[in-house]
Symmetry: D2
Subunit: 336 residues, 4 copies
Amino acid sequence: MASVYGGRLKVQIFGQSHSTAIGAVIDGLPAGIKIDMDKLRAFLKRRAPGQSEISTPRKEVDEPEFLSGLIDDNTTCGAPLSLLIKNTNIRSGDYEELRDIPRPGHADYTAFVKYGEFHDIAGGGHFSGRLTAPLCAAGGICVQILRDMGVTVTSRILQIGSVTDPDLFREEILKAKEEGDSVGGVVECTVTGLPAGIGEPMFDGIENCISKAIFGIPAIKGIEFGSGFAGATLRGSENNDSFECENGVIKIKTNNSGGILGGITNGMPIVFRVAVKPTPSIDIEQQSVSLSRIENTTLQIKGRHDPCIVPRVTVCVEAAAAIAVYDGMMQSTISF
Amino acid sequence: MASVYGGRLKVQIFGQSHSTAIGAVIDGLPAGIKIDMDKLRAFLKRRAPGQSEISTPRKEVDEPEFLSGLIDDNTTCGAPLSLLIKNTNIRSGDYEELRDIPRPGHADYTAFVKYGEFHDIAGGGHFSGRLTAPLCAAGGICVQILRDMGVTVTSRILQIGSVTDPDLFREEILKAKEEGDSVGGVVECTVTGLPAGIGEPMFDGIENCISKAIFGIPAIKGIEFGSGFAGATLRGSENNDSFECENGVIKIKTNNSGGILGGITNGMPIVFRVAVKPTPSIDIEQQSVSLSRIENTTLQIKGRHDPCIVPRVTVCVEAAAAIAVYDGMMQSTISF
Amino acid sequence: MASVYGGRLKVQIFGQSHSTAIGAVIDGLPAGIKIDMDKLRAFLKRRAPGQSEISTPRKEVDEPEFLSGLIDDNTTCGAPLSLLIKNTNIRSGDYEELRDIPRPGHADYTAFVKYGEFHDIAGGGHFSGRLTAPLCAAGGICVQILRDMGVTVTSRILQIGSVTDPDLFREEILKAKEEGDSVGGVVECTVTGLPAGIGEPMFDGIENCISKAIFGIPAIKGIEFGSGFAGATLRGSENNDSFECENGVIKIKTNNSGGILGGITNGMPIVFRVAVKPTPSIDIEQQSVSLSRIENTTLQIKGRHDPCIVPRVTVCVEAAAAIAVYDGMMQSTISF
Amino acid sequence: MASVYGGRLKVQIFGQSHSTAIGAVIDGLPAGIKIDMDKLRAFLKRRAPGQSEISTPRKEVDEPEFLSGLIDDNTTCGAPLSLLIKNTNIRSGDYEELRDIPRPGHADYTAFVKYGEFHDIAGGGHFSGRLTAPLCAAGGICVQILRDMGVTVTSRILQIGSVTDPDLFREEILKAKEEGDSVGGVVECTVTGLPAGIGEPMFDGIENCISKAIFGIPAIKGIEFGSGFAGATLRGSENNDSFECENGVIKIKTNNSGGILGGITNGMPIVFRVAVKPTPSIDIEQQSVSLSRIENTTLQIKGRHDPCIVPRVTVCVEAAAAIAVYDGMMQSTISF
């Protein structure tokens, strides 16, 4: 097992950065769901690079082609939905140097240990950020389904590097770019409109499921729900969310729990934040080793790099969250 | 699905706080592993309450009884290993008030929404921290197996509330206790001795798997690997871990990745930190609601509470990590 | 993985023939289901040996003790339900001979290859027919849940050896017993009252799921649905089940499909038959080998054996079918 | 879940009879396996229709295109392997009549109940026998891997209708064809070269796993291992397979167990037989109903049909068996 997520909804991601195509199979979608292709394209466009000077100038046209699972009018038929996104820029570069000299912060070395000489090193292979395109396609469909049920998934950038003022984000990214360096950040995701009672106890709680999906996005190194790490510094009397009645409805006054208690939604918005590490690909010369000669060497990564992927990661976080939450909803409902 | 963890190794946790017994079934352990019962008892004792003035005075004797899976001499036989821990203190209290007035920060309300009147409210039911006892029993066995393979799982408290000086931890807990309040903290867990190459790409990476297991522990609200949230503030040139050769061996100079790149171990120690929320049970009167009368009320939780569970959580974190890592090792090895 | 069945409903069986206890954990049951313990006991009694001269005279009192998952009044609370059945007759015999000389037709040899010297040989260990007791306890609960939904699971013996006249079954078994031999048979199971539309396409069809559960019963070596192997000899025009309308309701005239088309129920009763091999334990001296000395030897199995387990298998078949069908129902229902 | 098979090896099948493409994703294959494309094509050709007068004259070119998972030279790289087979003959016919008038013996009716108006009725949708093409592609790869490990998967037709003489099979099929009817049969599959010790006890035994995969093939209605249903008529002394030593090697004299004891391979060939029902599509007019008008009607299926799919099913059975056996091998090996 590896690139399959899910309980009742199964999302299988496939592809390498330079394979013929990348794609996804989504098994378990109910029949009769109409996909709004324009909205899906708009969702995917948020992930695409080359849209401004603060991301890599490489242009990717990520148009998903649906192979199965739909009938006319883009409506699901109950059969597994499969889609592919063609890779237009295949094996053009020379990646043999990377096979020998692993890039710090990338999966080159660990993939070499795991798969040996057979690892598809080109563009990072299956470990490439490019694989988030089919993740976003699958997640974008879940976002639409959730929206039809009144559940909204949104995200925003909280931090770029150490900067927390949104007006200064662009400047911070450009500064890193000028230095030939990169910068990370923090993204917050919110899921509103979920009923209370979704999620299973212990290992299939909503926190477990979202985390399992979210760490499928390369560069994510941390996740916290509600008050999270800051909550660990509070007293119980400060961190507990009180209940109150308002016009005959039970409400929760604060949301330090991030909408989840005992792994189960409490009706408040799910709120979580993820730490995005700075892109490992930088212009600056780095110290590495030659795996064949077992000796020290330096590495200068060619081409132009994304100085900050945080803006593009937001949509991936929404996609992963939508998949996890929708699957959680499907698992939680028991009619029999 | 709910309280089952695992891929090749399956760990099923069962029980409620006041049921006849709680326990675990571990399916998939190889035959021929000798369990050191004294070490297992010592491991479980670290979780037990009532050991000092900074934890709840309730005494629990958490002696696991093995029902199956062992032959003489406490050696696994390949059949599912099952164990139970008797609950000695069953349904003694009056929990009907809690059924009507949910405790802030607990799963009372979400369990009520999910299971209705049938939820076993006594002591928190299946959501009780008591369920970490069988988790620790299962994890303690994995810790032993890993140790025999040269893999060590340890943890330490980094923070109690806002205090980071270990000499002051006890004081901070006692202060919270005097206030009738509780305090959270941060635990760091380290897994050393793991070979590089363990873990699967994308959704079955080591980060995904550890997170899925760790959020099975009540009160955990965040997790970060390596430099984590702090790493998000760094430049790529600072956060990337360089490779170097030393005496013909490839080494990694720093460990901002927390031992994991692309979901796969790189041979450095796995390092992660978890945020533990302050125990929701406090002496201080709290605002809540009556679910039956739909009106505001106050709640004063009776009995004596654990002002800080962080010291007891350390062993649970090790247990969950050991289960995830050992399962990851079993999944990663492909001989055919 | 091994002794865990299920998708949404997980049934974990544990225990060995001579371990302290055998049992089951059922994870995923909805809250609020009241178990009728008398009916469950009556169900389990059908499996128990020692009830007549045609089964083994060993008396087993298979009283399940529930450890968790129930609140007062034997009603499920949503937490994993766990139960154990104590083994009263533990490790009394001398099984070391069997460790060296595998019994033909038993799992002694394959378990030896798989688990080596650590295999719990006593009474067949985890491979013993005794493990069908917790299977029947878990299945008996599913039978009750199904019955409350109008779904009935029944079975009958079609054949003992080559005898198809029920009046002669007893005679055939006694004949085998007198010869110191054993005899097999065929059991037919019928599930009525199921709505059409249950089951998933391809690998999670009802046939796939029932088979996966049924082959968990030792001694089952074949399964066929509807007209099965006999249907393979028919023309399509004979084997196809025609539709017809009767009083405004769509009916299916015949049931050669066994109630399943494309893996999905069609509203007709599910009908399947299983082949039960003759019990491998017989009084007659058999040829075997010494695994330690690698030489031919003979084996005479001591004690008194069940000349025919077919009557006791019927309830196991119902139990396995009920688990598979109920899990299929839970998986099929999609409200979102 | 639905069209996903597997434990460590995951095979996801997608597509409908008239969708843009059908295909498979295989997740979990080790890196470094070279696929012989000529052999794979030859394997797939055995399934293709239109090869003689005894199968449907429709020509299908089932050339699999690999999208991912391979590096140059058709060698696996460890990433999920994905392949598609284009459907050349899309939505050409008028299938609206079938939506209203379900074909007896097909999944038209059950799919209608399950998916409603959204079911892709064209050509049978996801329930079409055409979906065995990607199954064969996935299974054909497993066949090659197994062969490299010395494991051979073969099959043969035992019976066409009631005819057991291979010289008369063709005649029997032509006779059914002349009558505008169809005929079923029995296929036997043999897996040789497997070591003893493969398979897990109870629900993940080899019989369970093969059955779960095999019933994914439309038209299969029964399966039996070793002596199977015939074994149920034997005495234990006849059905038990004796052990013997020959030149210092332990052998098993007969193979009534079909190579499996307790769910685990015993080193003898795995032998099983499957019942293939007669193709439901026949020229003869059949009785059915109009689902919209709820009234009786007759149905004459247009076009030319396969009078007997048994010859084409053989390769599907081998494919499904290879997937199950190889996955079982991957699950059984425990190095840690």
